[in-house]
Amino acid sequence: MDDLYRELILDHYQHPHNHGEIPGADISYEDSNPLCGDKIRIDIKLQGNVVADVRFNGKGCAISQASASMLTDELIGKSLDDIKKMDKQYILDLLGIPLGPTRIKCALLPLKVIKAGVYGITAWPDDDEE
């Protein structure tokens, strides 16, 4: 339990980074997790091929919101090609917590939203493994 709700996760949940919206964003996308109703919207401002700014908005559990907060931190300065390479393991390494098959969907929702927004890839990042 202490592993799952370690301080870093709770801190990102309670004080999310990059929270909000970008008026006139280049990429905006929103999706939800049908299992639990967690919802995430992500706005991205580009400079050429590179993420100049990113904001997210949403409601959901500590895992999905902390994942969005931590992932958006990583996105700034990354190219769209870098984003395409991000996978399930990338998110798991970022969060650094053990996640069961149900909660992993919460953790992966922000990446799913970003990939759908950037590339129109709407599959769950772990779909190929199921």
Binding site: Y5, H15, C36, G37, G60, I63
Partner: protein
């Protein structure tokens, strides 16, 4: 000592799964609204069927097949008596309550609902009693309207009158909400619907397992429920008035639902088999028969009294938590054994996860009732639900652990 007529400590011993240790803690199962646990008698009935009588039904002339048929049809008769249907022909086995409702929407709905007609449901419904009606009304160009609820999750009397009108063809309503717990004024809704010539489909998935239900006294046209929520295995039941079922076209086509099949046409079997295409869930139906026997022996009045007591206790303990929001009526007389709540500190998913580590099983999410959560402006709730095997000490554990959750999340 019996409490409200139930020897709960003896009942608990009938459920092998409850003896389990989870994460080093005794299992506290508070998710019976999702599915109930199964007593030894039900597990044994299915086991015995597979060991001694397994054969396909309605066909074979050998002894095994006759035994299987007799047991399957015997289960139907037990269920008929349990809900006081006039005839076993009015009891149809389905995959689950969802399929039972879909059967009505497909078969009765497509033949009787036309453009401009109205179907009335309520904001309390499970998705299973909303989506089939959306599909039907969209296909037919009919209109789907909803009876609203007050801040305690009680249907608004004036809207019952206002929504159910001469334009209404069908009313689809829950008897007990799976989230707010509300016991709806089912009798007056049915009376109102019949007064305007509409038929009534009752979602009784949270009612038949928990209280006496008499379909003739209710005078409902259709009533759907789930075996697995009433100590039985995964099988559903549709009750329908024979006058309707006789006139309805089949839902699924195939074996067993026919009298004759020719290359050009077919003739349908008698009730209830007209609606049971293909080999049904034989062992599960037999298991449900055993569950009905078990519940009958306990007495459904006693089951209701025990759950009322558990719910009153839970409401009382939970209300003491600062900032908690409890959905549904605050009076246990007006609700079933389901308590959904939210606490400001933590998302229900996180609450459920931390409770799991204490061996406590609850549900976190929207419980297949997104419209109800939207209606009350909450994304999700944590739900504890009770059944014959639950004891007040389990509510205490829930409340203690919620204090722990708040401790972790107070930031």
């Amino acid at each position: 000592m019996p409490i409200n007529g139930l020897y709960v400590s003896a009942i608990r011993e009938d459920f092998p799964i409850l003896q389990q240790i989870v994460h080093g803690k005794p299992l506290v199962y508070l998710d019976s609204a999702a599915t109930s646990q199964k007593p030894e008698a039900v597990i044994r009935a299915m086991d015995t069927y597979y060991r001694t009588s397994n054969a396909n039904i309605h066909r074979g002339v050998y002894q095994l097949a006759e035994q299987a048929t007799e047991q399957y049809e015997g289960a139907r008769k037990r269920i008929q008596r349990f809900i006081n249907a006039k005839s076993p022909r009015e009891v149809i086995f389905t995959r689950n309550a969802t399929e039972a409702i879909n059967l009505v929407a497909y078969s009765w709905g497509r033949a009787n609902v036309r453009a401009g007609d109205e179907v009335v449901s309520t904001v309390l419904e499970h998705h299973a009693n909303i989506v089939p009606w959306q599909l039907l009304t969209q296909e037919k160009g009919a209109r789907l309207t909803y009876i609203g609820a007050d801040e305690q999750g009680r249907l608004r009397e004036e809207e019952i009158e206002a929504r159910i009108t001469a334009r209404t063809k069908l009313v689809a309503v829950t008897m007990a909400s799976n989230v707010a717990g509300t016991l709806t004024p089912i009798q007056s809704i049915i009376a109102r619907a019949h007064a305007v010539g509409a038929v009534v489909v009752v979602d009784a998935a949270q009612a038949v397992p928990h209280m006496p239900v008499d379909v003739q006294a209710l005078d409902c046209d259709f009533l759907a429920f789930s075996g697995h929520k009433m100590l039985g295995p995964f099988v559903g039941v549709l009750y329908g008035k024979r006058t309707w079922l006789d006139k309805m076209e089949p839902f699924l086509g195939g074996g067993d639902m026919i009298r004759e099949v020719h290359l050009e046409y077919s003739k349908w079997n008698d009730l209830p088999w007209k609606f049971e295409a293909g080999t049904p869930a034989i062992a599960e139906a037999i298991g449900l028969g055993a569950a009905v026997d078990y519940l009958t022996a306990l007495g459904m009045e006693n089951v209701r009294a025990h759950e009322r007591e558990m719910t009153a206790y839970a409401l009382n303990q939970l209300r003491a938590i600062e900032g908690i929001r409890i959905l549904g009526p605050l009076d246990a007389d007006q609700r079933g054994g389901v308590v959904a709540f939210s606490i400001p500190e933590a998302h229900p998913h996180d609450v459920a996860q931390i409770l799991d580590h204490e061996g406590i099983c609850v549900r976190g999410g929207h419980h297949c009732a997104m419209p109800l959560h939207e209606y009350y402006g909450i994304a999700a709730t944590t739900r504890a639900s009770f059944y014959v095997y639950n004891i007040p000490e389990e509510v205490d554990k829930l409340v203690e652990t919620l204090a722990k959750v708040r401790q972790i999340f107070k930031g």
